[in-house]
């Protein structure tokens, strides 16, 4: 709760700092503020949390764990953005502030206990993101990204809102517990309106998550937005999306799983295939990451398809692993873009020789995204597979295995470019200290979680 207050106040402070031209203070204040926010969240850790604010929010372990991982990811991304925004525009304070507003929305999304809060959280997050995507005011691609994102996002929010309204119509409440009680007390005669509402909500949330067939906005928006914003969207936002998804479904709809499970099963399979197969054909690393993020949305949905007591931990593990690895990937991409002006695979050629450190951390990130053992990504996949097998979704896991095999090919493309394709004239990149710290820390965390998953595997 204090976390949310702090993260809401922090951007206002930043705006004032911008007003008084204290540019150098922006980054330290943001980072320290976020660290304190994460600390406050951890301090509220307890096993029997009660809903607060007239049952609007619930800061249980689930909410705290996801708050912390999104805050930590944001800190890492903010550190990577040092020097990035200054090049784009003079209004740096605003960017930090908007990003934090978005984070405030995310905190609401992972801790809501009432569907109106879910809606408000998603809107706070999304509106901030529309601005962030179009942050390069004079860049056509950035503008296109913002517009596309806004139109599609508004559309999906409509679905979500419609779904919420239908649920309210059937159950008479926005409260998660009340909705659950409704499903439990009407086992045989649930209103058709309710089912329609559930479907609408699935559509709305899948839009936000970038799951197929509602994924069409992702590649263009990810590619058009500045890389740092893309990193934020594909890690923090996606984590929040799946957390909100899981919270709703495990709290309210567990008893009517027979109804929505086939729908989600199809969505998951389609998402996996579309994400992976399209990623195969990409020449741009950034676009490849966009499509691979679609396939990761598919893996994340596993936890909901195989809804059970372990789902929250699986999602947490997977989202953490995925976020850390993606941050590395985007971090290196930003440096490469600054040097070569391109984000094609070719621009990574020879990196292994000129910048061994960058090449090693990016390799670790790619191995983690591909789910190779001894990295966090493997543990995430392992949890997802275990959950699905324990519910006897063997066919689904076989599909996932096939997709994991396909994904090797495009993740290794960049490793191959870095190490095995040499360009004679490659000059070593200067790696700023912030980048070195973030990338090194993330790579270390990836390996550590991969070897000792126990440190985060049963928090929730």
């Amino acid at each position: 709760m204090n976390t949310l207050i702090l993260i809401s106040v922090l951007p206002i402070v930043l705006l004032y700092l911008g007003l008084y031209k204290a540019k150098n203070a922006l980054l330290p204040v943001t980072v320290i503020g976020l660290l304190v926010a994460a600390g406050l969240a951890v301090a509220e850790w307890n096993s029997n949390a009660q809903p607060i604010y007239h049952d609007m929010m619930l800061f249980d372990r689930f909410a705290i764990a996801f708050s912390v991982i999104t805050i930590v990811s944001t800190i890492l991304i903010v550190l990577l953005s040092k020097g990035f925004f200054e090049k784009i525009s003079e209004h740096v304070a605003e960017y930090y502030a908007i990003m934090l507003f978005s984070l405030a929305g995310i905190i609401v999304m992972v801790s809501y206990y009432n569907l109106t809060m879910l809606f408000i959280g998603i809107e706070i997050m999304s509106v901030s993101l529309y601005i962030l995507a179009g942050i390069r005011k004079r860049d056509v691609a950035s503008n296109e990204a913002a517009l596309k994102y806004f139109l599609m996002g508004a559309f999906s929010t409509g679905f979500l809102l419609f779904g919420i309204a239908l649920l309210y119509g059937a159950s008479g409440s926005f409260n998660l517990a009340a909705i659950r009680d409704y499903t439990l007390s009407h086992p045989r005669n649930i209103d058709p309106m309710f089912y329609t509402g559930v479907l609408m909500i699935i559509v709305g949330l899948c839009f936000k998550l970038g799951a197929a067939p509602f994924h069409f906005w992702t590649p263009d928006v990810y590619e058009g937005s500045p890389s740092i914003i893309t990193a934020f969207m594909s890690t923090v936002v996606k984590t929040a999306g799946i957390a909100a998804f899981l919270r709703l479904f495990s709290a309210c709809f567990a008893s009517i799983a027979d109804f929505w499970m086939p729908v989600l099963l199809v969505i998951t399979v389609v998402t996996l295939f579309i994400g992976n197969i399209t990623a195969l054909y990409q020449h741009s690393f950034k676009r490849m990451l966009a499509y691979s993020s679609i396939s990761h949305a598919g893996y994340l949905l596993f936890a909901i398809v195989a809804l059970g007591s372990g789902s929250a931990n699986s999602v947490f593990m997977y989202a953490t692993a995925y976020s850390i690895a993606s941050i590395i990937a985007f971090g290196v991409l930003i440096l490469i873009q600054q040097q070569t002006g391109s984000d094609d695979f070719e621009s990574f050629n020879g990196l292994g020789k000129s910048n061994p450190f960058l090449a090693v951390v990016l390799t670790i990130a790619m191995l983690s995204l591909a789910g190779i053992p001894l990295t966090a990504g493997f543990i995430g996949k392992f949890f997802m597979f275990s959950g699905a097998v324990s519910r006897y979704h063997i066919g689904l896991v076989v599909v996932a295995v096939i997709n994991a095999i396909i994904s090797i090919y495009y993740y290794f493309k960049v490793i191959i470019a870095m190490y095995f394709r040499n360009t004679a004239d490659r000059v070593a990149l200067a790696v700023p200290g912030y980048f070195g710290f973030v990338l090194g820390l993330s790579a270390l965390a990836t390996i550590l979680i991969g070897i000792f998953p126990g440190i985060i595997s049963d928090l929730i």
Binding site: L367, I372, P373, L374, S386, V397, V398, V401, I408, F420
Partner: protein
Amino acid sequence: MTVSILLFLPLIAALAVLLFKNETAKHAALFFSVVELAVAVVFLTKFVPNATTQFAVDYPWMPKLGIYFSAGIDGISMIMVLLNVLLVPIIILASYNHNYKNANTFYALILFMQSAMLVVFTAIDGFLFYVSWEAALIPIYFICAIWGGENRVKVTIKFFIYTFAGSLFMLLAIIYLHIQTPARTYDIHDFYNLSLSVKQQSWVFWAFFLAFAIKMPVFPLHTWQPDTYTESPTAGTMLLSGIMLKMGVYGAIRWMIPIAPLGFDHWQYIVIALAAVGIVYASLIAFNQKDGKRLIAYSSIAHVGLIAAGVFAWSITGVQGALYQSLNHGINVVGMFFVMDIISRRLKTRELNEMGGIAKVAPHFAIAFLIIVLGTVALPLTNGFIGEFLLLNSMYEYNIWLCAFTGLTIIFGAVYMLRMYKKVMQGETNALTILFTDITGTEKLVLGIICVLILVLGIYPNSVMHLSDAAVQNLVQSINQKIFQAGSPSNIKF
């Protein structure tokens, strides 16, 4: 004293080797691998050759999920561990004459791989087995892809995807078995005690089979192998053929068949037929090879096919023969690849037709090469003979026609191997081979060690075979008992 010292020493050594500069890195790597060998010998002296698992370590890794770091050595593991610790110093020594760029990374990867493979050979926990199985793949991928030949990039990614694909299905099977265990563990003994239906066991069997058959490789899953062997640096090829493919043999003996005995029994005739077809198929292709390294690669498929057939025959002689021949094949194939490496380094070619008469200018080399060839073609008094004899014996017990068919491998092997020897070593010297210099220094040492091993293991097979005797007997009989009790109509042998 637990096995963890043995398992983690190479890992620590790998990190240490990274700190050394290029030239000294290989000395450091050799030093550590010899220390590892010495440690293994200490274990060997304390090892009691009965059916029990010894030096066990059991450390809670993710206890809530039933995952433990549990490993131990029994007779079957012991043979594989010996193979591993024996070959790695030889392989490092064999790379001494190459000046690899970033040598410290190269040797660190070899040692890292050794550690992972040792865990594979000793793991008792299914999760641990899978993780180390994959962990062994990463270093070999980089060894082959960074230091390999011209086409390495395409070839190695194919290799990686192939093997990764197989093992993911194994992971699926392991998770499935885990779900079935009453206490939700990954312990292999709990897997053994499951009573699954024939249908369930068949699925589990095929999932494991895919992983192990790709690794060995068994026909028709071998297509990655010749290219990868040819394009890899010599050390990579040796690691792959000498040790890594034995992971597949070991996995079949330890995991696949005992966990799914009924599934195995149901499909036995098919897998054994695949192995047999592979033997003849690979031999026939080996006839036509003009590239020496490729020829050895195909001959390796044939030899491993026989080992696989012995495992699938699932009798005491078959499994013992497979284990012993795994050790021998490791030694012989490393010798063969080293010989080819010496030749190609001097002549800058591997085309057999361009060679000839080397024996005249390099007599020491000729003797060593001949001994290794004879070991490979299984001449009596060499190590290959004992192994292949046992394997063919088990074929005979299974089916006399199968024995005749698979026995072709010995004839074919003799033909293409001796023909290769003749082409390379005998006849007249030509402009290229006249300048061939005889082996020196480390080359002599490596070939000397390999020749001694070939002869010693050929004359005193029991020095090694007694280690696994009790464990194999126990395992094979208990599994055959299970198949018998299930009332399966086919092929019960005691």
